[in-house]
Symmetry: C2
Subunit: 573 residues, 2 copies
């Protein structure tokens, strides 16, 4: 064997490590065990998840922080359990390499009636399913083409910023492949400068110079566009009023004086809405126009005032320019921009958030909880607010600099946020190693969501991650109650003793004694939040707060009131 070869398993994980993937998610299964032999020797950390859906969710969270992630599952049973998590990564643009260990080639080509199949000799069903939820798919078949095809599939994840699907038959990981490519890192190809580039730049500059009421709106696909540094420069250079969507939250520095936080149209501040409606230029970056991320499309600017930077186009008014790089254009605009020629837009007044009206004896409620929690966030933290009431409240947090934020965007799969917390915290831990900084990851989650994926708490404990989880116990799926069936038992969930989670899931006695808290009143919550173990502790800590079953705000309150009005109308007929 010549020296320029390497075993396939080693090749794959080395490639991922080169791109910053230092942690590998997944679950062992008999068709992936030989592949797993290469994870740790290649220099990666193996994170064994409790099940594959949790692994996919965790990989998604990790990818959103580090720019790429991977999980390993086994053929059929494993990969299908992960499907919902992979689809979510596709919907919200997390580049996840889903590696599936499949039966050895010999068994597949002879159509053997193996377990983890329908015992009918058909091996291509599950890959056919993956086509619908991933950006690209590869089934490795031989050692000659394997390196190039591995490189290609990883590159597709980076280009499309979506999950990809890679099948590796169980007899391949131990075989030798060429290591030649390893010397050249995998990169995203540059978009060639198109002939219309100068025109696009000059049109954008003209609009920047002529704008009198400019509005910067940062949406979540700015992350996958890779333009966060450029956006930061634009926001600071122009000092123009800036908002984000839910998906964009945490991608800009909210401590800057011209950054307002979330733009929520009629569900947010009135002055912001008036400013939006009267804006003559709305610069929109990485738009993601689902009903939930756009308050039923009320945050989408009109074409006449919009310049919109997407991954495949830049749109100026009603003209769409293709084959053009948002990052490159934005960089060139910033370089050319003469700030003496742009307006000093002051924007609307900021609404100050205080906690002065909250009394210690108040019960904890949606309208006080988030304001009380907000001060514990520190620079460099990660904050996650699970789909449900937590998301509708958490999106109004004021975040310190460099705090990343996860919330309900489009996929809205409840259960996602707890494993995503695990993934994000692991990504952050690795980043912190390089920077020497410390931080914690804070999850706010309802009791209904928690039950979906609770077992992953044990992996957080095993990994000894600095995670604070605040459980909103409102006895069921409150978000579903307010949408429909507010008194229906189908929106209830089983009763759990949440404060016993750390003990059940294997924390040591010291940690249990110092890491579990409850609160029913605002005074109790304040005391818990003042505890050093809560705001600056290590390991997994858990706070359970009680809220009312129908306590909601924002669009959820609108839905609840609509439902109550319908009930009253029905009752009076």
């Amino acid at each position: 064997m010549s020296s320029d070869t390497v075993k396939l398993g080693d090749y794959l994980f080395t490639r991922l490590l080169q791109l910053g993937v230092t942690d590998m998610f997944g679950v062992p299964g008999d068709y992936n065990l030989r592949l797993l032999d290469y994870v740790v020797p290649a220099g990666l950390h193996w994170v064994g998840n409790c099940n594959e859906l949790n692994a996919a969710y965790a990989a998604d969270g990790y990818a959103r922080i580090k720019g790429l992630s991977a999980l390993v599952t086994t053929f059929g049973v494993g990969e299908l359990s992960a499907a919902n998590g992979i689809a979510g990564a596709n919907a919200e643009r997390a580049p996840v390499v889903h590696i599936v260990g499949t039966p050895p080639r010999q068994l597949q080509s002879t159509r053997a009636l193996m377990h983890h199949t329908f015992a009918d000799g058909e091996y291509r069903r599950f890959s056919a399913m993956a086509v619908h939820i991933t950006a690209a798919q590869i089934n490795l078949t031989d050692t000659t083409t394997a390196p190039e095809r591995i490189d290609w599939i990883i590159q597709q994840a980076l280009i499309h910023q979506r999950p990809v699907y890679l099948e590796i038959p169980d007899d391949l990981p131990d075989l030798f492949v060429s290591s030649a490519n390893l010397k050249t890192p995998i990169r995203v190809p540059l978009v060639p400068s198109p002939p219309h580039e100068p025109k696009v730049i000059s049109r954008i500059l003209d609009r920047l110079y002529s704008a009198q009421r400019p509005f910067i709106l940062v949406d979540g696909e700015s992350r996958s566009l890779g333009i966060l540094d450029e956006l930061d420069a634009l926001i600071q250079k122009t000092s123009w009023p800036t908002w984000t969507t839910v998906f964009g939250k945490g991608l800009v520095n909210e401590s800057l004086p011209n950054v307002y936080g979330l733009y929520a149209a009629s569900f947010g501040d009135k002055p912001a809405q008036e400013y939006f409606e009267s804006a003559d230029l709305i610069l929109t970056f990485g738009p993601h126009y689902s009903d939930t991320n756009s308050y039923f499309w009320t945050t989408v600017p009109k074409d006449a005032v919009a310049i919109t930077f997407r991954d495949d186009t830049i749109q100026i008014e009603s003209d769409t320019y293709r084959d053009i790089s948002a990052g490159s254009i934005l960089a060139q605009v910033l370089q050319s921009l003469d700030t003496t020629r742009i307006t000093k837009a002051t924007g609307p007044s900021k609404v100050e958030v205080t906690t002065n009206d909250i009394k210690d004896t108040d019960i904890i409620a949606q309208n006080n909880f988030y304001r009380l929690v907000n001060p514990i966030f520190r620079e460099n933290d990660i904050v996650l607010a699970e789909t449900g009431t937590a998301s509708y409240g958490g999106r109004f947090f004021k975040l310190p600099p460099n705090v990343r934020f996860f919330s309900a965007v489009t996929w809205l799969s409840i259960g996602y946020m707890l494993p995503a917390t695990l993934g994000a915290a692991l990504a952050k831990r690795d980043q912190n190693k390089a920077t020497g900084s410390s931080s914690q990851t804070v999850l706010v989650i309802g009791d209904g969501s928690l039950q979906m994926t609770a077992q992953e708490l044990s992996v957080m404990i095993k990994e000894n991650l600095n995670i604070l989880i605040i459980i909103i116990n409102n006895e069921g799926y409150t978000i579903e109650r307010v949408i429909h069936g507010r008194k229906q038992p189908y929106n209830d969930v089983p009763f759990w003793r949440h404060t016993q989670a750390l003990s059940y899931f294997g924390a040591n006695e010291d940690q249990i004694a110092s890491s579990v808290f409850t609160a029913r009143t605002c005074g109790e919550l304040q005391e818990v939040l003042n505890n050093e173990r809560v705001h600056s502790g290590t390991g997994l800590r858990l706070v359970e707060v009680a809220m009312e079953r129908e306590d909601v705000q924002g669009p959820l309150l609108y839905l609840l009131n609509k439902q109550i009005a319908e009930e009253q109308a029905a009752a009076s007929n």
Copy 2:
């Protein structure tokens, strides 16, 4: 509105109830809430599961006992989480109606960028995925055709004995549809008698009369063939030596003197294997030839001696007869059979199982555990042995009459068995209501599998089902260890305190105090098993037993020894 109409939601659940589906599994989501309004009013019990995979597993378990089941999930996020469970039902033939609540028709037809989609207006991706794992699919589009299409899809589940997929847009459940069909129950159409029927019957009778060393082998698809009563008659009428496969176990009365239990070729009793090899007639019913169910196809009879009853064919030697009903042929054969003309086959001697060699001070091990547990099973119980060591041991249990058994067959998705236990126990509870009998459901499960779907314990508690769970704590995925990587950390799982499960998952104080047991030695285990709360108690009870990390038997021991030999060979090179 005329009196011969009914709301669509009511129609659907009434149809399911007519077929014995009294319990509905699933998870609420905003596209299925209006449909869920009809579950309880139609007379069904709503079982809210902790997540959709667990719901699918539970529905599978229920269908195997009652012959049909259903679950309700929501578009995208819910249905994809259930995919692995649905695929398992397809692989092992459980007729499950997977009902998916989808966005209202108006949103779909306008390609609105809704949540639970990829925000690109495409609504047909997930149904395209379902095609690969279900026998039939329907998307309801209007009230005119809805009743007929609902009937059709349910009928397909019954005909194919596999899962089916039914999409119901959220604006349809409240609309009126014709109730005319409700008067006529949904039935499986009869297979018309083909011209070759008399020939098939006479060939079978000839072979029965000429056989000198007959062997009856009942495999698991006998359940979906609906021939269990006929098989019981055949086994009693002939008194011929009878075995089952793993999949077939629990489908025949193992207390009959001519029933031997599991046929495991070289992994079972030597005399049975010799008898199989020398048999001149092997009657095989409902064969299911995966590697795992057939000990790598060593239990498959040779064509020359075989008569095989499948759902679509009857095979006699190398002749295949199609368009023929196994049940009808078997009934006619039984009617014609002159038992004075068949051989009195005695079969090999039975190997007696005793516990005499087990000492109280012995540690609990695979080679003593199952023999100690076996006596607690009673007529009418359900016994489940999860994939892993539990399956390899549990399949040799000697079952009392009318005890159904679940184990690893083909899909082998670890995590399945715990929610399947919930489903099976619910099905049994409903059956017991009719018969007045009592029974319990006993699950033997490893700690690795348990972690996959543990939250469903809380639903068992909420439903107050009579379930005994014995957790084999061998510190990880022992079955994976013996396949490959026996010392690899990727086969470890996080440490949990299993004895706290009842408390964490919401059992009341009395139940907790009387329902949690542990054992490390055989003496301790015997004492636990003698406890009335364990062998005849009510509610959920839990026994944790400790076993060694590499304690295995049967084919698993073969794999372990092979791995050790390879390690030694590698070390000595």
